[in-house]
Amino acid sequence: MALPRAASRHRGSAPRERLAIASRIRAALTSRAAEWSRRRQGLDRFPVRIERRRLYILPSRAGLGFGALWLCMVLAGLNYANSVALLLAFSLGGFALVGMHHCHRNLQGLRLLSLTAAPAFAGEPGRIELLLENDANLDRHGITARIGDSHATLGTLAAGAAGRLVLTVPTARRGRLAVPPIRIATAFPFGLFTAWTWLHTDATVLVYPTARGALPPPLATSDRETGEHALAGGNDEWSGLRPFRDGDSPRQVAWKSYARGLPLVVKEYVGRSARTLVFDYAALAGLGTEARLEQLARWVVDAEARGQRYALRLPVAVIDEGRGAVHRHRCLEALALYA
């Protein structure tokens, strides 16, 4: 299934000066509305179908302007007893009202399948992916999801198709960041009305501590259990082959032997750097808690990037030595959630 993908855009790019107060008032009103809808409709469990009772609709700013214009037209028609002007103005009025129903229907019955939030380092935007499905027999257009300043739009979601909307949330502190209420809206077809719904999930973005700190990593120590096995480049000695284990880097795999039909094996080297690094919270005395966690995160990221094996020791937990994306995530998660 090919997923039409919409790029995420940031609103701040248009340098339109607005009154800060006005935008603050708007933000406050929006969050009030979100809270109100949360109390009203409760927490959402995926998959969510957008039902009528959670779907709201109001004239957009363009719609208000259109309304004012329409009023002028009707007044002109009435004042000059001009039947043609009245006919045209009444047509436009009906047109807008039918458009309102089109707008409402464009969201009604839409299915929200899932929401995935990727972990992010504090300070970097967290990426949230929303999966939508249109199982109705009509095409839907112009569906926008928004969190704060981040929004993404699906141009067309054909009947029977699924689509993906990618949003970002700003992260400031490590820990679990609750995904704010997501506003899913449409102005289709004429932009005169906006229909929207609030999506309240208990999903969280795991925010790692910022990888920061200039201290040199601790000296590598020999590990009792597995010996001095680690990957390194350069002039390390080749020590032998061992069976493939989860977490091994594809670069270490002996592809040539695999191509000859032999089982998957990994080349091992022994060298000066082929020892396990142990990152110990306690060893960083003299720094504050957050600074220690940031420094540890820095070391974890660097060690993983160099392909070294590493272990993490925190006062509350010990993560044994290892390597690879899963290991890295376990370490960073422990740092993120350290209390």
């Binding site: 007893a81 009025g93 129903h101 009604q108 112009g142 077809p189 932009g191």
Partner: protein, 655 residues
């Protein structure tokens, strides 16, 4: 070429293309009214904007735009010497919309230009509502609505077809509401405010008459007004349509009396009454025409003057329609007031001396007023007078010149001469201008009165009878009043006119078109509060009132909203899969009824294998179909024909 244009056009400016199309169409609606420089300026700006979009040029700076807007504003002020008139306002709106195009960046600007386009359309309807233009307005409305769809949902990249389809369907759903509101939305009586009307010259009767200055009477076939009678129309010789009454004469020109008013005696109407409705073309003057002589109408904004004219408070700047009652016979009192005598006996001193002498001599010889009138009419009939639409010009003593030298003229000459003679003989006389006759439209059952039927006659005061009509033209050229063909040859403007007379089908088409237009005018354009109340009465309301209109609008609106909500408010039906899936599902259902249901985890081939084991009786027919289904569904892409064939098989197979 088209492809190249597509390529040249940046995709992000797609909405702009539609906005420009809608705006250009709006300006085109005003093309006949905007001054040429204004059209040229707008066209140049639009081309500039198009070029900037194609070539990705920067838009002009703020200062340039302000300068451009300012100079266009100045040009409009210079051209129209005001900004409040309809033509000036439209020109200004169009020019400012064009300047706005030069700063269209975002959606907001697009909406603004679309709003300008819609408002230009309304401005165009204010003074031009002919049936022929309705199609243009409707097409423009459709275009604007489609452009709204493109601008409103830019990410969807709706194709033009979809946008037009969407807008068209939406407008179609709005149609019942449009009709409902049109019929029942309470109309306002009278204007709350008014735009000064333009001073464009419109053919018609002026408020003065100088027969001597006209050497060729234009015979315009433009309609002046149309009349629908309730019941039988009066005899055609009595069709005098009364207009401005002229009292003041300086020897050359007749003018209306301004300022002085004399009290007229009570009117006594005699004979049958005629009820009729007149639909008057705009003539930018304040008078209304009526069959001589109307009963004063009880209508606000219209006055019945001392000399029996109908004068409206506002100039007739768009077609108006009114109902009147007239009697063709009446008496207007026994004795003329002193002021009336002074006004209607007034003659310029030292002018038209021969006429004055002749009149006094003949009056003395005749012995009575009535005999004198007869004498004058005989003089006109037997004195070698000729009715001509191309009379020679007259000198300043116009009546002398006409009576004793040229003896050739049209109704205005005769009326002027007769009134002068009467006044010279001491009989109060005034000139009445208007129309006479009319062409009966058998298709629409109404009378068309054209500009070529403009007429002038004289009213004289006869003690004991009051004001009486004397029409000297009837004596000189009785044919003229019977609408002889002769009338329309000389100086006729439309070369097509004799053709119409000859070619029956063409005449029929012309009359039919006129009839449709008249229906449109009376039924649609002149639909007002009175018509609404009449409609209510027709619907069975005993005492029609505004409140009932309100209830009808509210009820109708609610009903329409309910229908629309039922149509669009329900959640869209979930798709039930394609034909193939439906066919497969139905076959599985039939097989389940036959006792061997498909397990939820079974694919078609596994199911088929189990069928072959458990129900060999069915397998022979069902198996190949299931296999073909699996091939079409999961195999390499099958053609549509193959898919349809398998779907049909699935549907029709009865185990």
């Amino acid at each position: 070429m088209r492809e190249r244009w597509r390529e040249a056009w940046p995709e992000r400016e797609r909405a702009l293309r539609w906005v420009i199309a809608a705006f250009s169409a709006a300006v085109a609606l005003h093309a006949d009214r905007l001054p040429p420089w204004c059209l040229a300026a707008i066209a140049a700006i639009v081309l500039w904007r198009l070029f900037a979009a194609v070539a990705s040029l920067a838009l002009p700076r703020r200062l340039i735009r302000l300068g451009l807007g300012g100079s266009l504003l100045l040009a409009v002020v210079v051209q129209f010497s005001s900004l409040s008139g309809l033509a000036a306002g439209s020109a200004l709106l169009a020019a400012m919309g064009a300047v706005k195009l030069l700063e269209t960046r975002g959606r907001r600007d697009h909406y603004i230009v679309l709003g300008v386009s819609l408002f230009l359309m309304i401005a165009a309807t204010l003074d031009r509502q002919g049936l022929a233009r309705i199609g243009l307005y409707a097409a423009h409305l459709w275009l604007c609505c489609a452009a709204l769809a493109i601008v409103g949902t830019p990410d969807a990249r709706l194709p033009a077809r979809t946008a037009f389809g969407l807008a068209g369907r939406t407008l179609a759903y709005a149609l019942p509401l449009t009709v409902l509101l049109f019929l029942f939305f309470p109309r306002v009586q009278g204007q709350i405010w008014s735009l000064p009307a333009g001073n464009a010259a419109v053919t018609g009767l002026g408020d003065e008459m100088s027969p001597g200055s006209i050497s060729q009477l234009s015979e315009s076939e433009e309609p002046a007004f149309r009349v629908t009678f309730e019941g039988a129309p009066p005899p055609s010789t009595s069709l005098y349509w009364r207009g401005p009454v002229l009292h003041q004469f300086d020897g050359y020109t007749w003018r209306r009396e301004l300022g002085r008013v004399y009290r007229s005696a009570r009117l006594e109407y005699e004979g049958p009454e005629y009820r009729y409705r007149i639909t008057l073309e705009p003539h930018r003057q304040r008078w209304w025409f009526a069959l001589d002589l109307p009963v004063p109408p009880q209508q606000p904004g219209v006055f019945f003057t001392f000399d029996y004219q109908l004068v409206s408070a506002e100039p007739v700047s768009q077609a108006v329609s009114y109902e009147l009652v007239s009697h063709i016979r009446y008496r207007s009192g026994d004795e003329a007031s002193l002021l009336a005598r002074r006004i209607d006996l007034q003659l310029p001193t030292g002018r038209n001396r021969r006429t004055l002498e002749w009149a006094q001599r003949e009056r003395a010889a005749a012995g009575s007023d009535a005999a004198f009138v007869r004498r004058v009419l005989e003089f006109f009939r037997d004195g070698g007078f000729v009715y001509s639409l191309t009379p020679p010009l007259l000198d300043l003593d116009s009546v002398d010149d006409f009576l004793f030298r040229t003896r050739s003229g049209f109704c205005g000459h005769y009326a002027s001469a007769l009134a002068t003679l009467m006044r010279a003989a001491g009989i109060p006389a005034r000139v009445v201008t208007g129309y006479h006759g009319g062409e009966w439209n058998p298709i629409g059952q109404y009378l068309i009165v054209r500009q070529s039927e403009a007429h002038a006659w004289v009213e004289i005061w006869i003690d004991g009878r009051g004001w009486s009509r004397v029409d000297p033209t009837a004596v000189v050229a009785p044919d003229r009043l019977q609408r002889a063909a002769l009338d329309r040859i000389a100086g006729a403007e439309g070369a097509a006119d004799p053709l119409i007379a000859e070619l029956d089908t063409l005449a029929r088409i012309a009359l039919t078109w006129d009839a449709i237009n008249t229906w449109w005018k009376i039924r649609v354009l002149d639909f007002d509060l009175g018509s609404q109340l009449k409609l209510l009465r027709g619907l069975g309301f005993e005492r029609p009132a505004l409140r009932q209109l309100g209830w009808l609008v509210a009820g109708g609106l609610a009903a329409w909203l309910l229908v629309i909500a039922l149509r669009f408010g329900r959640a869209p039906r979930a798709a039930r899969g394609d034909a193939l899936a439906r066919g497969y599902r139905s076959l599985c259902a039939r097989l389940a009824a036959a006792g061997i249901a498909r397990a939820p985890q079974e694919g078609p081939l596994a199911y088929a294998a189990r069928l072959a084991r458990e129900r060999p009786d069915l397998a022979a027919r069902v198996l190949p179909v299931l296999e073909r289904y699996a091939l079409v569904r999961f195999g390499p892409r099958a053609s549509d024909a193959q898919t349809r064939a398998v779907a049909r098989e699935l549907r029709s197979l009865r185990p």
